[in-house]
């Protein structure tokens, strides 16, 4: 056991899935030509004024309601002043003293099944900056302001996490929450969800928090886990050598797995916040809040409970299958259509997930539709095919050979359940393997079991795996014992 305890707090930037920017009517769509979605407001032209997007406010409130937070009926915007080329106004419009979402919490289920609550300190509305492009501009930096003004909520947690695993579990839970309530597309590779990680260590039993460092802009769960583990090691090494930790911002390079200090100027953190005179306070009525609360869909935690109950799934299965909306919807469709939730769960978590992972596909890109998987399961249940054949059919459907019924028909994979036909096959096998049959009859009970497998194998070979295993077992048993 390590003598050290890790303490982690997170700040998460969640890009809101609005159509337009927080303060202008320019589109937030990604992938457009540089600077084609930058309005006069986004370009910070003198004389322009921001007009707040209703949907951004609604989404922030929905988030607050989903984490059981206090929704502040009165919130206000401030200016955070700093100079950077991708911030045309010279300040970021954000919230500080009066954020729209107050304290809340998120409950996690960890891999060992235990539960943990991570407290949310607050969440506030703010605007994203543009993008600085450092390549392809021969030593200069290119500025694309399409992202400037995209609405964000910054979610700030309390330092409640005690390991990289817990931090990642929280990050996943948050990802699943914001996508479930439809306020974020969850595309981490596009930067829709970005994590800043505050890490410190202290000796076990110590109450006082150690000096923390902040590692910024981690946009994958894997990088986040790597960055935290590396940072914990680095801090422990320094402290064990008698050194001390410098409070600083660090950058993590996912490709090399190395982090380094950003060495930003000492005065960079003096943002001289002040209330933004261009924006009035945001006031929310009780009716608005109730309406938004009623508009919330089923939350991941509620879905998890329902899955466990409605489909009699284990906690583990329910947790995996309810983790994101696409997987949940797929599972529910397969379970309903096939009428067997347990088999649906097994196929999705087994064969399907393995293939998706192998091809680095998400479930929304799955070539096997939910109705097709349901059909496959139905054929398995009505004994049209055996589970071994089912894997073949799955493979064929995956590769676009058609629906399960079409594949079974085209490849002639129907299980043989005709007892007359099976009886003939059994008779033939016993006749062809008379010596083994004699040996079986002479053997004692203990050895018979193993010897029996030989005959089953022969039957499966003869039928190319299509014989109904249960019937074959019965017929063989009868023939051998007579």
């Amino acid at each position: 056991m390590s003598a050290w305890e890790t303490v982690i707090g997170l700040e998460i930037h969640v890009q809101l899935a609005t159509k337009t920017k927080i303060f202008s009517s320019a589109s937030t769509a990604v992938g457009a030509e540089p600077n084609s979605h930058a309005s006069l407001v986004d370009l910070a032209m003198p004389g322009t004024l921001p007009v707040l997007n209703r949907e951004a406010v609604n989404m922030a409130v929905k988030f607050g309601l989903a984490v059981g937070a206090e929704i502040n009926r009165h919130s206000a915007f401030e200016r955070k002043n700093y100079f950077y080329p991708d911030l045309p106004k010279g300040y970021q419009t954000t919230q500080l003293a009066e954020p729209i979402v107050g304290a809340g919490s998120v409950e996690l289920i960890l891999d060992d099944g235990s539960r943990k609550t991570v407290r949310i300190h607050h969440a506030h509305l703010e605007e994203d900056a543009g993008k600085s492009l450092h390549e392809d501009f021969h030593g200069m930096t290119g500025i694309d302001l399409n992202r400037a003004g995209t609405p964000l909520i910054e979610v700030v947690t309390e330092p409640d996490m005690r390991s990289a695993e817990e931090a990642v579990a929280f990050a996943r839970a948050l990802h699943s929450l914001v996508t479930a309530i439809g306020i974020c597309d969850g595309e981490m590779s596009q930067g829709s969800l970005r994590f800043d990680v505050n890490v410190s260590v202290r000796r076990k039993g110590e109450e006082k928090l150690g000096t923390r460092t902040e590692t910024k802009n981690l946009n994958s769960f894997r990088f986040m886990e790597m960055a935290i583990k590396k940072e914990v090691e680095r801090q422990i090494d320094i402290l064990e050598d008698g050194g001390s930790i410098t409070q600083e911002t660090r950058l993590f390079n996912g490709d090399t797995g190395v982090s380094r200090s950003m060495r930003s100027k000492e005065d960079a953190n003096d943002y001289r916040y002040f209330p933004c005179p261009d924006l009035l306070p945001v006031m929310l009525s009780e009716e608005q809040i109730i309406e938004l609360k009623n508009s919330l869909p089923e939350l991941p935690a509620q879905r998890l409970g329902r899955f466990a109950q409605q489909y009699s799934l284990s906690d583990y299965d329910a947790r995996i299958l309810s983790s994101d909306l696409a997987t949940s919807d797929y599972f529910e469709a397969v379970a309903e259509l096939s009428g067997d939730a347990k088999l649906a769960a097994n196929w999705i978590m087994g064969e399907l997930t393995a293939r998706l992972n192998a091809e680095e596909k998400s479930i929304s890109e799955c070539p096997m539709s939910a109705p097709d998987l349901a059909e496959l399961i139905a054929r398995l249940k009505d004994n049209t095919i055996s589970s071994k054949i089912a894997k073949q059919v799955f493979e064929a459907c995956w590769n676009g050979e058609g629906s399960p019924d079409q594949v079974i028909e085209a490849r002639g994979l129907k299980q043989v359940s005709d007892s007359g036909e099976l009886q003939k096959m059994v008779n033939k096998i016993i006749a062809e393997n008379a010596t083994q049959a004699e040996a079986y009859r002479a053997a004692d009970e203990a050895k018979r079991k193993k010897m029996f497998g030989f005959f089953v194998g022969q039957a499966m070979k003869a039928s190319q795996g299509k014989a109904n295993p249960q019937q074959i077992n019965e017929l063989l048993m009868k023939a051998l014992n007579s």
Partner: protein, 95 residues
């Protein structure tokens, strides 16, 4: 509350303003006067008054989330000292 010249120079730097040593001395005096006035205001009895984020006592009007064309590249890129490939160009900023 008094503001010294160093503070003036620091704030000027943060705001990217060029302030000479001479100016900073004069400014220190004037800013101190302003802060002294604020100190006086601080003594006002406000315990029973709700803080005010804005002098207008109305709520922020909200805009519907509807896209309007915002492509101003042909007009704004030529205004920049340098541009290329639809991007504004600035001196390299990465550390």
């Amino acid at each position: 509350m008094a503001i010294d010249q160093d503070t003036v120079l620091k704030v000027a730097h943060l705001a990217r303003l060029h302030v000479s040593a001479e100016q900073s001395q004069a400014l220190a005096g004037r800013l101190s006067d302003i802060l002294n006035m604020v100190d006086e205001l601080q003594q006002a009895e406000v315990d029973n008054i709700t803080p005010l984020a804005h002098p207008l006592d109305v709520s922020q009007p909200l805009r519907e989330d509807l896209v309007q064309p915002a492509d101003l590249r042909d007009r704004v890129l030529p205004l920049a000292p340098a541009s290329e490939g639809n991007c504004f160009l600035v001196p390299r900023v990465i550390e």
